[in-house]
Point group: C2
Chain length 252, copies 2
Amino acid sequence: MKERQEAIKRYIERKGDVTLSELTKEFSDWSEMTIRRDLEFLEQRRFLIRTKRGARIMPTSYEVSVGMYGEREKRNCDLKQEIATKAAALVETDISMYLDAGSTAMMLARELPDRNLIITTSAPNIGIEIVLKKKNPTVILLGGTLQRKTISTCGLNVLDQLKTLNIDTAFVCASGYTDATGFSVGGQHECVLKRAIIASARRVIMLMDSSKLNSILPFTFARLSDIDTFVTDSKAPESIKAAFRAAGVHVI
Amino acid sequence: MKERQEAIKRYIERKGDVTLSELTKEFSDWSEMTIRRDLEFLEQRRFLIRTKRGARIMPTSYEVSVGMYGEREKRNCDLKQEIATKAAALVETDISMYLDAGSTAMMLARELPDRNLIITTSAPNIGIEIVLKKKNPTVILLGGTLQRKTISTCGLNVLDQLKTLNIDTAFVCASGYTDATGFSVGGQHECVLKRAIIASARRVIMLMDSSKLNSILPFTFARLSDIDTFVTDSKAPESIKAAFRAAGVHVI
DNA sequence: CGTGTTTTGTGAATTATTCACATCTTCGTC
DNA sequence: GACGAAGATGTGAATAATTCACAAAACACG
């Protein structure tokens, strides 16, 4: 496969859904016809499917996280991508890690290196994504009732399942944060799971885009003191980042 | 949603990928424009995506089972569909059932009624499929290591997980059968799981298309005496069906 | 260099899609 | 059962996208 085709593939993998004109603008060194032929080439190899006026990433579980929830998820796509890229740099080979549910975590999953990793997750879509796109990581899915809204499992016996797993680094996502309430989410079950994960992991890395700062959701699952590292995007206000650092959190 | 739109949706769900001209031929009572509008309607509701000259089923986990593995899975698609339809008729409301991994099981999942059911499965793609497309069933995913080949989980503690679950009816798939060897599969882990399921379920329904009869795979997980019902397609030879019936198995 | 092969670009021909509008249904109301 | 409103469907022209054939350019190799 040519370099340009690889680049087109990567571009579409990130965007999920692109138009031909978008691609011709992005890859303006080549003609529309060439890009068209590349799309045909990539479609034949099942990397993507061509749509009416462009192409879309080959749907595995991608659509479950981004497409399905639609606009809300796509809105802060760039911020989340930035976070995912930064977080992926923190992943070490040969470790046991936990990956949370959610679209930011899905993007992180796509950025993970194809190396020897043990990845535990409660998000089956993320697990499938990893297993289909990478050869080396081992994926462990937590069992339990599959929640419709979050596409993640939660079970009464999560604690039992975690007992036999030693998680080194946990990548956890939050839906809200304020100084007073800490990190919060919308679901009770998620809250319980995240707490258990945080309690058992050696190192906790929190992923959260700046749009979620200063919002409160019903269930608090962690305080600043519970986390080691905080990964956010460049739009996060310096004041908050400074406050986090003052509390001993490594902010990236 | 209109009846025609439902029918178009079903048609595309079965075919996976259709052209507009195929649809206008199939639904010749209506004009191309109407079909076009229906596709737009269905796309908005995220049931499918429109491609260059037609439409394709909305990729959730469908592609994981059918598209991804490609031709092999598509080959006996009609046989499997027949089995799935017959098996769906055996599903009762308000029961706890187990659904195996595999493309036949995926098709059964799509045929399930949108009613109150507790569905346990080791196939996360099937679980996601159900949860995204139906409102009423509760899905329980078994935890464990996610296998790349089968997209199913298997864990050391499956037995523990099953202890708290009372499964009434188990729909189990096999990859091979001969009188001498019984029902067999290719993976050791699958074998263990299927055995555990069969041991704990009140009623076992085996799903297998006729192309798999008279083939042997490495691991036997069940004998004729272990199953209650055998669902196969119309191409299965009468002699085998008669032999099964003679052994006390209900053949459909 | 020269030749054959592959890749890329161009524009015309073909095909698909959209749009505006006309017609036909359906349904509630008097 | 007549009427009007709202929605669904069909038609054809306008627009846009895609394909195709072929020419030009880039590349490989002796």
